[in-house]
């Protein structure tokens, strides 16, 4: 059985509406917190999860959710007619990064599902209000979710002024260089644009960094570091660089994804990871248009940007 694609949807109240909309497409199944799914308790396509606070291996944050999430995915996927898509709603205490980490690192989940994309939702009115009230933009887990998302869906974009919407957009682009920002109220968005993205395998996708970082983001808020080089990398130094990246910065790493051309290899090597987990990825279905370049996207908090860039540059093959 081929792994079933999983879309993780996270955010506020809008996330529930979006997750159910995606899951209500034919062949969809929704997994989410029990208190969010209680409006349809007997629907076999809605499978509740209760994060188990006690199930904690010392030092491991993902164990809080892992066992319950694994059981829910098994129930959803091991069927005579498996679903075509699983939607996991990360809400409340189940932050998106923990959900993604569980999906990527658990051996049973790796066999059953394949992470397709993370979709974060933002309420434009709420965010604009917080900006103008000098309140924190979001909780730490909320910022982390926005930072790793592959799509950011902004709701109620028409309910704020263009200036406020611009501020919202600036914050989002400063937080996330990967995800297109979509405002359905302004430009129609279909479910298909949020699914079948396969964003976590293959080469990282990213857009240009904003000219200026939003002043609303502090030094410890998530940032994106993009490492690019046109030259092939030395195999041993590249591997050492990745090992040290994970070993030294695991607690601060929210997402890492790369496509590197290594000397002696005919095809690029792909990898992805979250926190302390990193794994080899698969080549993209449509090929890699930029295969000559090596590029790694690192998203995390308090990352030593200059050190990462310098070490990556040092991994290039000596001329």
């Amino acid at each position: 059985m081929a792994p079933v694609p999983v879309t993780v949807v996270a955010g506020g109240a809008e996330a529930f509406r979006l997750a159910t909309q995606i899951a209500d497409e034919p062949g969809g199944v929704l997994i989410g917190p029990a208190n969010e799914l209680r409006c349809r308790p007997s629907d076999a396509r809605w499978i509740p999860v209760v994060a188990d606070i006690g199930s904690r291996t010392p030092g491991c944050a993902c164990c809080r959710l892992r066992v319950e999430l694994t059981a829910a995915v098994e129930r959803a996927v091991i069927r005579r007619d498996p679903p075509s898509r699983v939607v996991v709603l990360a809400a409340g205490d189940d932050d998106a990064v923990t959900v993604v980490y569980s999906i990527l690192s658990d051996t049973d989940l790796q066999r059953l599902v394949r992470l397709d994309a993370v979709v974060a939702t933002v309420d434009a009115v709420q965010l604009a209000t917080r900006i103008h009230s000098d309140l924190p933009i979001a909780t730490d887990s909320g910022l982390d979710c926005l930072a790793i998302a592959d799509r950011v869906v902004v709701s109620r974009a028409r309910d704020v002024t263009p200036h406020a919407l611009g501020e919202v957009g600036h914050v989002l682009r400063s937080l996330n260089q990967v995800a297109p920002v979509i405002a359905p109220a302004i430009a129609r968005c279909t479910v298909a644009e949020l699914t079948s993205i396969d964003a976590w395998h293959g080469a990282p996708r990213f857009g240009p960094a904003p000219r200026t970082q939003s002043p609303l983001l502090g030094a410890h808020d998530p940032r994106t570091v993009v490492c690019i080089t046109a030259s092939p990398l030395d195999a041993a130094r590249a591997e050492e660089w990745l090992d040290q990246l994970v070993e030294r910065h695991a607690p601060r790493l929210l997402r890492v994804q790369g496509a590197v051309t290594v000397s002696g290899e005919s095809a690029p090597s792909y990898f992805h990871g979250v926190r302390s987990f990193a794994a080899t990825g698969t080549s993209p279905v449509g090929g890699d248009a930029q295969r000559a370049a090596s590029r790694v996207v690192i998203i995390g908090r308090e990352l030593p940007t200059a050190e990462l860039l310098a070490d990556f540059a040092a991994a290039q093959l000596s001329p």
Binding site: M1, A34, P41, S42, D43, A44, I47, P48, V50, D52, G54, S55, R56, T57, C63, R66, V67, E68, R75, I78, R79, R80, D81, D106, T107, D108, R111
Partner: protein
């Protein structure tokens, strides 16, 4: 015994959805539970498709009835006239028959259906309950996210609590001398009943130990890790220092069942392969069967004369097993 152990094909049938559970009763009848809530006894449908239901467990509950647990906590009991119990406490996490009472766990609470359908709710204080295993008619072991507890279900009293967080599998040997607990951090804890605070830890697994089973006559303990089967032997001098390891699957093992009356065991994997092992020689399986969908359930008949297997496509196979010499 001069014949080699033989495994012969006997019968096959289909249920509408993935096989969730298989269970033999004392009269050699096989219960098969389908993910859509249907149940079949020896191939004959009993409960047909619970609307909106997603079955997660099922078992015999007495000589003439069986029960299916749905994901929303509903129980459907077949007792000639099927009825649906009201959803209890939400989210079924474990289901078992103690011999006199039906035990169903919902998160941190355990509901006990005794004689005459009288019901009481017990709080084992084990965290989220993951496994319930009867030790005696009124005494059970409960494995949960925070601890393993031993509960007297007639009084609801928690007799013993062993602080063992992250339990994901619990198994009791047939002689009820030991309780094995598989944990999230890749270890198996062996607790001696009556001296539960003093146990033995078997380590070395790369991931959570979700499948464990005692062999016949408590000669050892089986556990699986990815595609590997491990057997820890218990001898006069105690537990072996290292387990016997065998690899005969090319995909992750998804099911494990040890025969309670013969030195045989069965494993099934995500690619559909079923292997039968002789515990006297773990070098290679003595028999295997190739399938095309994930094996979801395995069950040995109580006398060891038959093995049933279920797959995610709803196929149920039953083989006759005749124990002989192991080659």
């Amino acid at each position: 015994m001069n014949e080699l152990t033989s495994v012969g094909d006997r019968v096959a049938w289909h249920v509408p959805d993935a096989v969730v559970a298989l269970d033999w009763d004392g009269r050699h009848r096989l219960l098969a539970v389908s993910a859509d809530g249907s149940t079949y006894v020896d191939g004959t449908p009993r409960i047909v498709g619970v609307p909106g239901g997603l079955a997660v467990a099922g078992c015999w509950a007495g000589p003439s009835r069986h029960v299916v647990g749905l994901h929303d906590g509903t129980l459907v009991v077949d007792n000639a006239a099927p009825f649906r119990d009201a959803p209890l406490l939400g989210g079924l996490t474990a289901l078992a028959w103690s011999g006199t009472a039906l035990l169903h766990a919902h998160r941190e609470q355990l509901a006990v259906f005794g004689r005459g359908s009288a019901k009481c709710v017990v709080e084992p204080r084990a965290g989220t309950i993951r496994a319930v295993t009867p030790l005696a008619a009124s005494y059970i072991a409960v494995g949960g996210s925070e601890a393993v507890t031993f509960v007297d279900i007639t009084t609801g009293a928690v007799d013993v609590t062993v602080d063992l967080p992250g339990s994901v599998a619990v198994a009791v040997d047939a002689a009820t001398r030991y309780v094995a607990v598989g944990t999230l951090d890749g270890a198996i804890h062996i607790l001696t009943i009556g001296h539960e605070q003093h146990g033995r830890e078997l380590t070395g697994y790369p991931d959570a130990v979700r499948r464990i089973a005692w062999t016949a006559r408590c000669a050892g303990l089986l556990a699986t890790a990815d595609d590997e089967v491990t057997l820890w032997l218990l001898g006069p001098d105690g537990w072996s220092h290292e387990p016997l390891c065998a690899v005969a699957h090319s995909a992750a093992i998804t099911s494990l069942a040890a025969c309670a009356s013969t030195p045989l065991a069965a494993t099934g994997d995500a690619d559909g392969r079923v292997c039968v092992w002789s515990l006297r020689d773990m070098c290679a399986p003595i028999w295997w069967h190739a399938g095309s969908h994930s094996v979801t359930a395995l069950a040995w008949a109580r006398d060891g004369s038959a093995l049933a297997a279920g797959w995610s496509d709803g196929t149920v196979h039953v083989w006759s097993v005749e124990l002989g010499l192991i080659a």
